[in-house]
C-alpha cells in the first residue's frame, strides 16, 4: 500500500500533512508518535472512515482491503461472539449458514472454540480483544490497521497476544500497520518503525536504525533514550575533540554500556585493545531495581546519567561516590 | 440509507406536515369569515386578539396561572425526581424493577383512570392552596419524564466520578453540586423543558384538582375549542403556543451555552 502526499483536515485543522508512506506486503509496520500526532487519524483515513483532503492511496493489486481494530474491543453488545465475527461476512452478503460455518472455523484459530455463543460482556478483556481481531481478520484484509490494540491489557496477556498475532500474521501473510506507544511491543514485532510528529512522518527505519540513529533530539526524547548529551558535553568528559562529522552534534549511550569501576579494582588491561574511553566521577542520587540489577541515577557536576548494573548482590548506597567508564564506541551519534 | 434526494424529500414532507398547519392558524386569528376556496380571506380584523386581551379574554391571567403551576410542578419534580433517579441509577437492590415501573407507570398506563380516582383526593386536599394541589397532579403526570431523563444521564455518568470525589473527602451534597449537577445539566434542561411543557398543556388534572377554579391557559381555552369560533380558537392557540416557542428557544440557548462552557473547559 502506498500513501502519496496524503493530507487530512478536520475542521480546517491539518491533522495529517502531505504524508507519504509505503507498506510492503507481509510487513509489520509500527507507527509511533506522541498522542495528538495524528496516528489514529491516519489509520481512519486509510480505513476510509475519514476522507482524504488531498493525496491518494494506492495498492499493489488495485484495490486493497483493510481491517481496523481499536484499543477498546468495541464488540457489538447485542451479538454473540460468533455473530460478531461473522458481521463482516454478513455485510458482504454471505449466506447465514455459510458464514456461521466460516466464523465457526475461524474461532479455532482465535482459540475461542467454546465461546461462540457467549455475549461480549461474558468474556475477559483478552478474549474480547481476540474476538475483535478475529472480526477484522476473517475478512482477509490486505492490511490490518491496529490502533494500540492491547494497550488496556496486562503485560503478560499483551505479550501472549502479540506473539499469537505475530504467528498468525506470518502464517496468513497480511501486512500490519500497528500503532503503539510500547517500545518493547514495537521492537518485538516491527519490520520497520515510523515515527510521526504533528502529522508528519519524521523517520522510517528498521528498529535498530531508529534507535541507533534517531533523526533528531525530538525523536530521541520521544523514544526516551537515556544519557543524551550534546557533543560539547561529551568533549568535556573526554577532554578532547571527538572525531565526528559536523552534523552529528549529540550522542546517547545505553545505561548498560556505562561501566562502574570499583575503587579497588584496577582498570582491566587483559591485552584486548581498549578503544577511546573516559572516566567520570559522580555520586549516586537514586537507586531503582530492574530485572538485571539496579538502575542508578548518577550526578556528575551538573549532569545526571543513568547507569545499569548487573547482579543484585551488591546494593549501591545513596550518596556513594562512584566512577563510571564511558566507551566512545558505544555512543550513538545523531543530530539535533 | 435511502438515496439522498428521496431522503430529503421525505424529511421535507414531514417538516411541511408539522409546520404548515400553523399557517392557517395565524390567518384565522385575523379574520372572521374565510369561506372555501379563498386561499386568503378578503377581510382582516384584529377583533379576536382584542378580545383575548380584554377582561373576558383572560389571556394574562391564564398565562400567569399556568406558569405558577408549572414552576411549582418543576420544583416538585426536582425535589422528588433527582434523588429517585440517582438512587435508581447508582444502586442495585431487590425489587428495583418494580420500583422503577411504579415510578414510570403514568407513562405506560393511561392515566385517565387515575385522574378519575383522584377526584376524591382533590376534595381531601382542599385545605391546600389551589396552585399546590394542582401542581401535585401535574407532578404525577410529569415525574416519569423527569425521572427517566435524569436517570439516563446518571447511567451514562456511572459511579466512578462519585467514588473519586468521595475519596477526596467531598460529602454527598458537594458531590452532587460540584460533580454530578454540572454533568447533569443537559438532561436536567431537557427534563425541565418536558415538565414545563407537559404541565403547561394539562387540562383534566388541573380541572379536577382545582375544581375548575384555577384558570390556567388550557382551562381558559378549552371552552372555546368546541364553540366553532375558529378565529378565537386560533388566536388562543397561538397565544398558547407563544410561551412554548419561547421555552424551546430558551432550552436550545441554555443547551448551547452549557455546551460551549464545557468545550472551553476541556480545552
Amino acid at each position: 500500500m502506498h500513501l502519496d502526499q496524503v493530507t487530512i483536515k478536520i475542521h480546517q485543522d491539518s491533522i495529517i500533512n502531505s504524508l507519504s508512506l509505503s507498506i510492503h506486503p507481509g510487513e509489520i509496520f509500527v507507527l509511533m508518535g506522541p498522542s495528538g500526532s495524528g496516528k489514529t487519524t491516519l489509520l481512519k483515513g486509510i480505513a476510509g472512515l475519514l476522507s482524504l483532503t488531498s493525496g491518494r492511496i494506492s495498492w499493489e493489486n488495485g484495490i486493497g482491503t483493510t481491517g481496523l481494530v481499536f484499543q477498546e474491543p468495541r464488540l457489538f453488545p447485542h451479538l454473540t461472539v460468533l455473530e460478531n465475527i461473522a458481521f463482516g461476512l454478513r455485510v458482504q452478503g454471505v449466506a447465514t449458514k455459510e458464514r456461521r460455518l466460516q466464523a465457526g472455523n475461524f474461532l479455532k484459530s482465535l482459540q475461542l472454540e467454546n465461546l461462540g455463543n457467549r455475549y461480549p460482556h461474558q468474556l475477559s478483556g483478552g478474549q474480547q480483544q481476540r474476538v475483535s481481531l478475529g472480526r477484522a481478520l476473517i475478512l482477509n484484509p490486505d492490511l490490518l490497521l491496529l490502533d494500540e490494540p492491547f494497550a488496556s491489557l496486562d503485560t503478560s496477556l499483551r505479550e501472549d497476544l502479540i506473539s499469537w498475532l505475530y504467528q498468525l500474521q506470518r502464517r496468513l501473510g497480511f501486512s500490519i500497520l500497528w500503532v503503539t506507544h510500547y517500545i518493547d511491543e514495537a521492537l518485538s514485532i516491527a519490520d520497520r518503525i515510523g515515527i510521526i510528529f504533528e502529522g508528519k512522518l519524521q523517520q522510517i527505519g528498521n528498529p535498530s536504525e531508529i534507535f541507533q540513529q534517531p533523526d533528531s533530539e525530538k525523536i530521541a526524547h520521544f523514544l526516551s533514550l537515556p544519557n543524551r548529551f550534546s557533543k560539547q558535553q561529551w568533549q568535556n568528559w573526554f577532554q578532547r575533540d571527538l572525531p565526528l562529522p559536523q552534523t552529528l552534534n549529540r550522542g546517547w549511550i545505553d545505561s548498560n554500556h556505562l561501566q562502574i569501576i570499583d575503587e579497588e579494582s584496577q582498570l582491566p588491561s587483559n591485552g584486548i585493545k581498549e578503544g577511546l574511553y573516559s572516566i567520570i566521577s559522580g555520586f549516586i542520587m537514586k537507586v531503582k531495581p530492574n530485572r538485571e540489577g539496579y538502575t542508578l541515577t548518577i550526578q556528575s557536576n551538573s549532569e545526571t546519567l543513568e547507569v545499569s548494573t548487573i547482579g543484585w548482590s551488591k546494593v549501591p548506597a545513596l550518596q556513594e561516590s562512584i566512577k563510571i567508564k564511558i566507551m566512545f564506541e558505544h555512543i550513538y551519534w545523531y543530530s539535533e | 440509507m435511502v438515496k439522498k434526494p428521496l431522503e430529503i424529500t421525505l424529511i421535507g414532507i414531514l417538516t411541511l406536515f408539522i409546520l404548515l398547519p400553523f399557517i392557517p392558524l395565524v390567518i384565522w386569528s385575523f379574520t372572521k369569515h374565510w369561506p372555501w376556496p379563498l386561499l386568503m380571506p378578503e377581510n382582516w380584523t384584529i377583533e379576536s386578539w382584542t378580545y383575548l386581551f380584554s377582561i373576558s379574554g383572560r389571556a394574562f391571567e391564564g398565562i400567569l396561572n399556568s406558569f405558577i403551576v408549572a414552576a411549582i410542578a418543576l420544583l416538585g419534580n426536582i425535589v422528588l425526581g433527582i434523588p429517585a433517579a440517582r438512587a435508581l441509577a447508582q444502586n442495585e437492590f431487590i425489587g428495583k424493577n418494580i420500583v422503577f415501573s411504579i415510578l414510570l407507570a403514568p407513562l405506560f398506563i393511561p392515566y385517565t383512570i387515575s385522574i378519575i380516582g383522584m377526584h376524591d383526593f382533590a376534595l381531601r386536599l382542599d385545605f391546600l392552596n389551589d396552585y399546590v394541589s394542582t401542581a401535585i397532579a401535574h407532578i404525577l403526570v410529569t415525574l416519569p419524564y423527569f425521572v427517566a431523563t435524569i436517570w439516563f444521564q446518571y447511567r451514562l455518568m456511572g459511579k466512578k466520578l462519585n467514588e473519586a470525589a468521595s475519596i477526596l473527602g467531598a460529602n454527598e451534597w458537594k458531590i452532587f453540586l460540584w460533580i454530578e449537577f454540572p454533568l447533569l445539566v443537559p438532561s436536567f434542561l431537557l427534563g425541565s423543558f418536558l415538565v414545563l411543557v407537559v404541565s403547561y398543556s394539562q387540562y383534566l388534572p388541573t380541572w379536577i384538582m382545582s375544581g375548575g377554579t384555577l384558570l390556567t391557559l388550557p382551562l381558559v381555552i378549552f371552552p372555546y375549542a368546541n364553540s366553532g369560533n375558529s378565529s378565537i380558537v386560533s388566536a388562543y392557540s397561538l397565544l398558547f403556543f407563544a410561551p412554548i416557542l419561547l421555552l424551546l428557544i430558551i432550552y436550545f440557548l441554555l443547551l448551547r451555552i452549557n455546551n460551549r462552557k464545557n468545550t472551553n473547559e476541556s480545552r
Partner: protein
C-alpha cells in the same frame, strides 16, 4: 449527612401530608348559613355586600362572556358591591364536581351560581345538589316573571319548584344561505326531499351533541302522533313503539347527507364550521339570534337567514341555580336577582352582546321597558317574536332524550 436530613424532612412532610389526607377535615370548611332561605331580602342584600360570587357557566361564546364580564360585573359591583367572577365550565362537568363533593360531605364548595337546565337540573335536584327553593325570594322573579307558565314551572318536563330561576328562553331555528337556496324546507318531509335534490349539502351534528339530539327530537315530533305523551313521565313502552319511525326517516335521509352520511359533524361547532366554509348550505342551532350574531361578527355570510318548521320547533328555557354548598349564597341570590332585572334582560336581548329572548313576561314590563324592547334591533336573520312564539313546541322528558341519543348511536350512527 445534610442530605439525609433533607430526605428525612421530606419524608416527615409526606407522612404528615398522608395523615392529613386520611383524617377528616370537616373542621376545615365552615358550614354555610342555612337560614338564608328564611331571611328577608334586605338582610340578604346587606350580607352580600363586599362579597365575591363565583358564577360557573358554559364559556364557549365570546358575546355571552363579554356580557357577563363587561356589562354585568361592573354594574353588580356598583349597585350591590358584589364582585362577580366567571368560571368557564360545561354543565355536566360542574354537576359531576358537585356530585363528588356531595359524596365526600363537603359543606363548603366553590360554586355560587350555576347555569343549567334539563337533564343536569334533574340530576342536581334529585341528588340534593341544590340549595333549595329560592325563586320566591327574588323581587325581580316575583315582579316580572310569569310564574304560572309551563316553561317556568317545568324544565324538560321536570318540575322546578323554585330550585332554579329562568334566565332566558331559546328556540331552535335552522339557518340557510339565501344566496344558495331560496325556499327553505318547512317540514321534515320537505327537508327530506330537499336533501335528495341537493345531496351532500345538509347534515346535523351526531347525538349526543346537544343540537344534534334536538334535531332528532324534531324528527320524533314530526313522526309521532302522540307527542304530548312524551312530555309526561317516562314510559319505555311508549318510545319503543315510536322510535323505529324516527330511525327510518333518518336512515332514508342518510345517503344524501354530507359525506353520504358516513360521518357526521361531532358537534354544532363543526357543523357551523362546515357552513362557514361553504361545505353545507344549512345549519341549525338552539338559539334564534345566533345567526344574526354571527353575521354581525362577520363569521356567517351576510345572506344567512333563519326559518322554523310549519309544525314548529323546540323551545326551552335555561336557568340559574345555587348549589347546596355555595360559599356565598347571599351573593348568589343578589346576582340572580340582578340577572332577572328588566335592565339586564333587555341588555341581554340586544345583539350587542348576546341577543337572546327574555325570560321575563313582556306583559309585566313597564311601558318604558316595553318601548326599549321594541326598539331593540334583533338582527336581520332573526325571525319576528310572533313568528317564533307561534311555532313553539315543548321539550320532552330528559329520559326520552337520553334514550333517543343512545338509540341514534345504535340505529343510525353505527350503521
Amino acid at each position: 449527612m445534610k442530605k439525609s436530613r433533607c430526605i428525612n424532612s421530606i419524608l416527615i412532610m409526606l407522612i404528615l401530608f398522608l395523615s392529613a389526607c386520611t383524617s377528616d377535615n370537616k373542621n376545615e370548611t365552615k358550614p354555610i348559613d342555612k337560614n338564608i332561605l328564611t331571611s328577608d331580602w334586605k338582610g340578604i342584600k346587606d350580607n352580600a355586600r363586599g362579597t365575591k360570587v363565583n358564577f360557573f357557566m358554559w364559556g364557549g361564546d365570546e358575546g355571552i362572556n363579554k356580557y357577563i364580564d363587561e356589562w354585568v360585573a361592573p354594574r353588580l359591583k356598583e349597585k350591590y358591591n358584589v364582585e362577580l367572577k366567571r368560571y368557564p365550565m360545561d354543565a355536566t362537568e360542574f354537576i359531576n364536581k358537585l356530585m363528588t363533593e356531595k359524596k365526600a360531605n363537603k359543606t363548603s364548595g366553590e360554586m355560587d351560581v350555576l347555569w343549567i337546565n334539563g337533564e343536569n337540573f334533574k340530576i342536581a335536584k334529585q341528588e340534593g345538589l341544590l340549595l333549595g327553593p329560592f325563586t320566591e325570594k327574588l323581587p325581580n322573579f316575583q315582579n316580572y316573571v310569569d310564574t304560572e307558565s309551563d316553561d317556568i314551572k317545568y324544565d324538560f318536563g321536570f318540575p322546578i319548584e323554585g330550585y332554579e330561576a329562568p334566565w332566558g328562553k331559546v328556540q331552535f331555528v335552522f339557518a340557510y344561505d339565501s344566496s344558495k337556496m331560496t325556499n327553505p324546507p318547512k317540514s321534515i318531509s320537505e327537508l327530506k326531499d330537499w336533501v335528495k335534490k341537493n345531496p351532500g349539502k345538509f347534515t346535523y351534528p351526531a347525538p349526543p351533541d346537544f343540537t344534534g339530539s334536538a334535531f332528532v327530537r324534531h324528527v320524533l315530533h314530526y313522526q309521532t302522533e302522540n307527542y304530548k305523551a312524551f312530555l309526561n313521565d317516562y314510559d319505555e313502552a311508549l318510545i319503543d313503539n315510536e322510535d323505529d319511525k324516527v330511525w327510518k326517516v333518518l336512515n332514508e335521509m342518510k345517503p344524501y347527507l354530507w359525506r353520504e352520511g358516513k360521518s357526521y359533524p361531532q358537534s354544532i361547532a363543526q357543523l357551523k364550521q362546515l357552513y362557514k366554509n361553504g361545505e353545507v348550505w344549512m345549519t341549525m342551532g338552539y338559539d334564534e339570534a345566533n345567526a344574526s350574531n354571527l353575521i354581525k361578527s362577520g363569521e356567517f355570510p351576510d345572506t344567512t337567514r333563519t326559518f322554523v318548521f310549519d309544525k314548529g320547533t323546540l323551545a326551552n328555557s335555561h336557568f340559574l341555580a345555587i348549589p347546596y354548598n355555595a360559599p356565598n349564597a347571599n351573593g348568589a341570590l343578589v346576582l340572580i336577582d340582578y340577572l332577572l332585572s328588566p335592565e339586564a334582560q333587555l341588555k341581554k336581548m340586544d345583539l350587542e352582546y348576546w341577543g337572546e329572548t327574555m325570560s321575563l313576561s313582556v306583559d309585566k314590563l313597564s311601558d318604558e321597558d316595553k318601548k326599549v324592547m321594541e326598539s331593540i334591533d334583533r338582527g336581520k336573520a332573526t325571525l319576528s317574536q310572533d313568528e317564533l312564539s307561534n311555532h313553539r313546541i315543548p321539550e320532552i322528558g330528559a329520559e326520552y332524550v337520553q334514550w333517543l341519543e343512545r338509540g341514534w348511536i345504535e340505529n343510525v350512527g353505527k350503521k
